[in-house]
């Protein structure tokens, strides 16, 4: 976000009447908005955006947008970010209308799949083009989902960071320690979605409620900006007379912050405190002190508000960030299979690059000079791209060839990915055809 925008945001939000819309993109994104809609944020409108019609159907959100419905016919993006991207680009004119007159667009997505990874950056870009602030909430896949998905997720995250004003990130993997092994995936996702909803709720409260101490989007931006920052969050709720004494411990116990460990090298933290009518300044101070104690190097901003509904309750959300640390053993060359195949290696790659380089930067790092302009694609290409892959069509054609031309069985096999490229020929053999077919390997 440019600095003008930031100024704007202060004006817009200062009045406490910021117009906010929350978008969920893709499967995970829609589930997250679903959870948020259940909490219900006054004055906030929720939108579920997906290429997958079935998933959209199941989502309990009032406004639903099916992307590229004509060309993809609601079939989803098959885990291909390009498809999600093309689908959103295709409908960009209509999507853009959703951001008209909006001050803050919160865009949530699970990265690593097709729709969220491909389409969320497009939405963020459109939001910014419409003058809204784009805040993203991204979920990263479990380690066990594989390196490819991790890599897709990382690239998606990088693109999101490039086009939006801030990204709050949750690694699904952090949940592993909380849920027991036998929990179903769906239930694990549920837990994760509730946490994210809590976080978004904290942000919303922070930005919209006037209170004892105000913070604004600019402060949030300070925490989340920067390509190499890793953000994390925690929240907790306590009740009764000891609520301020207990809250610190609760916040740290949260596995999302690795039991407080992550706070250790936090550089920025934004603390949102809400309490019932009786909340005292002392309680606010206690809360902040408990965070200071574990995050000694952090620049801490505090927002506090009274919420009548909370009566004797105290709710605190902390959003913090640190510069990603480079892995410790600089000189060790990973040689073993295990080391090299660890998806975590992928994960930390672009995120934790070159801490030195950034250290001379001030907190108000200017936005990049080169924002990638929206990719331009012709209508035809978009259609072609967004078309469901028709494997059956290829088969159909090959069968025809067989009957008409009586070709060798070898030649009727689809070349799949290499259909359109010049064949790789070695000693007369077309190496693009599967080896197992050319070698006549038979499988049961």
């Amino acid at each position: 976000m440019s600095f003008d925008n930031q100024e704007n945001s202060k004006e817009k939000l200062g009045a406490g009447r910021a117009k906010m819309r929350v978008f969920g993109v893709g499967g995970a994104g829609c589930n997250i908005v679903d959870s948020l809609a259940r909490i219900g944020l006054t004055g906030v409108e929720f939108y579920a955006v997906n290429t997958d019609a079935c998933a959209l159907e199941e989502c309990n959100v009032p406004n639903k947008v099916l992307l590229a419905s004509r060309v993809r016919r609601g079939l989803g993006a098959g885990g291909e970010p390009e498809l999600g991207w093309a689908a959103a680009e295709k409908d960009s004119a209509e999507l853009k209308k959703l951001f008209e007159g909006i001050d803050v667009a919160v865009i949530s997505a699970g990265l690593g799949g097709g729709t969220g990874t491909g389409a969320a950056p497009v939405l963020a870009r459109l939001a910014k083009e419409s003058g809204a602030l784009a805040l993203c909430i991204a979920v990263l896949p479990f380690d066990c989902e594989g390196a490819r998905r991790q890599r897709q997720a990382i690239m998606g995250l990088q693109q999101l960071k490039l086009v939006s004003d801030g990204v709050i990130c949750l690694k699904n993997q952090r949940l592993v320690s909380v849920v027991d092994e036998n929990t179903t995936l769906a239930a694990t996702f549920d837990v994760s979605n509730k946490w994210i909803a809590e976080c978004a709720y904290g942000v919303w409260r922070l930005l919209t409620r006037n209170g004892l101490m105000n913070v604004d989007f600019g402060d949030l931006y300070t925490v989340l900006q920067g390509r190499n920052t890793e953000s994390f969050f925690s929240f907790a709720e306590t009740h009764g007379p000891n609520r301020a004494e207990e809250i610190g411990e609760r916040l740290l116990k949260n596995p999302l912050v690795e039991n407080g460990g992550l706070f250790n090298d936090a550089e920025h933290a934004l603390v949102s405190i809400a309490g019932g009518q009786g909340m005292t300044l002392l309680e606010v101070r206690r809360t902040v002190e408990s965070i200071q104690a574990v995050a000694p190097n952090a620049n801490i901003k505090v927002g506090a508000a009274i919420d009548k509904d909370l009566s004797d309750g105290l709710e605190v959300t902390v959003i913090a960030s640190r510069r990603s640390a480079a892995p410790a053993n600089e000189n060790a060359t990973p040689q073993t299979q295990e080391e090299m195949d660890k998806p975590d290696g992928f994960y930390s790659a672009p995120e934790s690059f070159d801490p030195e380089l950034l250290s001379r930067q001030t907190t108000n790092r200017p936005r990049p000079r080169v924002l990638p302009p929206p990719p331009e694609l012709s209508e035809d290409r978009l259609n072609e791209f967004a078309q469901p892959k028709q494997h059956s069509r290829l088969l159909g054609r090959s069968q025809k060839q067989r009957t008409h031309q009586g070709q060798l069985p070898l030649e009727i096999v689809s070349k799949g990915r290499f259909e359109k490229s010049e064949p790789t020929i070695f000693r007369g053999e077309d190496l693009d055809l599967p080896t197992y077919i050319r070698k006549g390997a038979l499988f049961n």
Binding site: A53, G78, Q152, P334, S421
Partner: protein
């Protein structure tokens, strides 16, 4: 705005990813990697640009990310190239020493190299590298520097890497469309070798196999010089594509299965092992036999390495590989691939990641980045050379690229 003439940017337009690496020479002339940008590549097949628009979009993303990270403005790049169309061969130049005292001068050395470079490439071909190997004086082989020696007949061996103009032009055009200069193009395999091999490995003799998504780029070093180069247009994409066809599933799913469950060899009991893929809209859940999956991979990989071993054997370079094989590139992550290459080549095999440069954190030490980092090293070497050979060479490098675009025959060499 920070912008430094010292920045050296390597750009790999790979089949699966595009990667821009920014290197910076510090005051002492040491090279630091200060930024890297990546994007998923969607318009490249088997190392060749097949969709200019898509590649342009992807390159833009990678470059702007690298710019952001390194806080610099990228003006020019060292562009890596690959593809089946690239070939290497050795050539010899001869020059007779005519001076009365028969002492070999620098001029003689230039002349003999010039003769060696006078190659009749086809009109569709462009010369990418002409790399000096060794001189010989009056039949005495293997002389690294004959300056000042006495003799009548000076010869030089060079290794020539060339590729098809059209394909090279596509890659160069993508970059130029983004208002970036191409300082020089370099064969990806050579770049990887620069990032991976130690002095000893080059001296003893090593082959580098960069096993990517679309190609295997290979380079043989022996006695400190490039002995052979080549490209086989087969890579990780072929493995995934075989799986997609053999297991009847979409390519994306096959790619994922390959990464999560793949291996170069089936293991014990794999035939009884199954993995269940969740259903997607339109596709019911299904099970895949792990044994079959690995069998399909095994056949493809075995064939690929056998072809390469055969080609190296045909070139007569296998005997030079006293330090064995170095594998890198994303597909070198396939479990047990090292065992396979060891078995086929009957030599020690090392899985390698780019050697760390000053300032580079170990996150760069991924097999996927060999080419990108190597391109920066290549750029640095070119700069140093240009440094003492004067500006003229710099200009001629540029002319070479311009010539490539205009379609001049690729016979002029830097």
């Amino acid at each position: 705005m920070f912008e430094s003439k010292q920045d050296i940017v390597g750009l790999e337009i790979g089949t699966s990813k595009i990667c821009a690496v920014v290197g910076r020479l510090n005051a002492e002339g040491a090279l630091n990697i200060v930024g890297i940008g990546q994007s998923t590549s969607s318009g490249v097949r088997k190392g060749e640009v097949v969709d200019l628009e898509l590649v342009e979009r992807d390159v833009r993303l990678a470059i702007s990310e690298a710019e952001r990270m390194s806080d610099t403005e990228v003006r020019s790049v060292y562009l890596g190239v690959s593809g089946n169309h690239i070939n290497g061969f050795n050539n010899r130049g001869v020059h007779t020493i005519v001076s009365a005292d028969r002492q070999i001068t620098g001029e003689d050395m230039d002349d003999v190299v010039k003769n060696a470079k006078a190659i009749n490439l086809s009109a569709d071909d462009h010369l990418i590298h002409a790399i000096r190997q060794h001189y010989s004086v009056d039949g005495q082989e293997g002389i690294p520097n004959p300056d000042g020696m006495m003799g009548t007949r000076l010869e030089v061996d060079i290794h020539v890497v060339h590729g098809r103009k059209n394909q090279l032009r596509n890659a160069v055009n993508v970059v130029r469309n983004l208002q970036l200069d191409v300082e020089s193009i370099a064969f990806n395999g050579l770049a990887s070798a620069l990032a991976l091999l130690s002095y000893e490995q080059k001296e003893l003799g090593t082959v580098v196999l960069d096993i990517g998504a679309g190609t295997v780029d290979y380079v043989v070093y022996a006695n400190g010089a490039v002995k052979h180069t080549g490209v086989l247009g087969v890579g990780g994409d072929h493995v995934s594509n075989d799986l997609a066809i053999g297991l009847k599933m979409p390519l994306g799913q096959a790619e994922k299965l390959k990464v999560t469950h793949g291996s170069a060899y089936p293991g014990e009991g794999d035939n009884e092992r199954k993995t269940t893929l969740p259903g997607t809209p339109g596709l019911p859940p299904r099970t895949v036999n792990i044994g079959k999956l690995k069998q399909i991979m095994n056949l493809r990989l075995e064939e690929t390495f056998q072809i390469i071993a055969q080609q190296l054997n045909d070139e007569g370079v296998l005997d030079y590989l006293r330090a064995g094989v170095v594998i890198s590139g994303g597909s070198s992550r396939i479990p047990r691939i090292k065992d396979m290459v060891e078995r086929i080549f009957q030599m020690p095999v090392i899985k390698a990641v780019p050697q760390s440069l000053g300032g580079a954190s170990s996150v760069l030490m991924q097999p996927e980045f060999s080419t990108g980092i190597g391109l920066v090293r290549f750029g640095a070497q070119q700069r140093r050379r240009r440094g003492y050979e004067g500006v003229a060479i710099g200009r001629s490098l540029k002319n070479k690229i311009l010539g490539l675009l205009r379609g001049d025959s690729g016979r002029s060499v830097a």
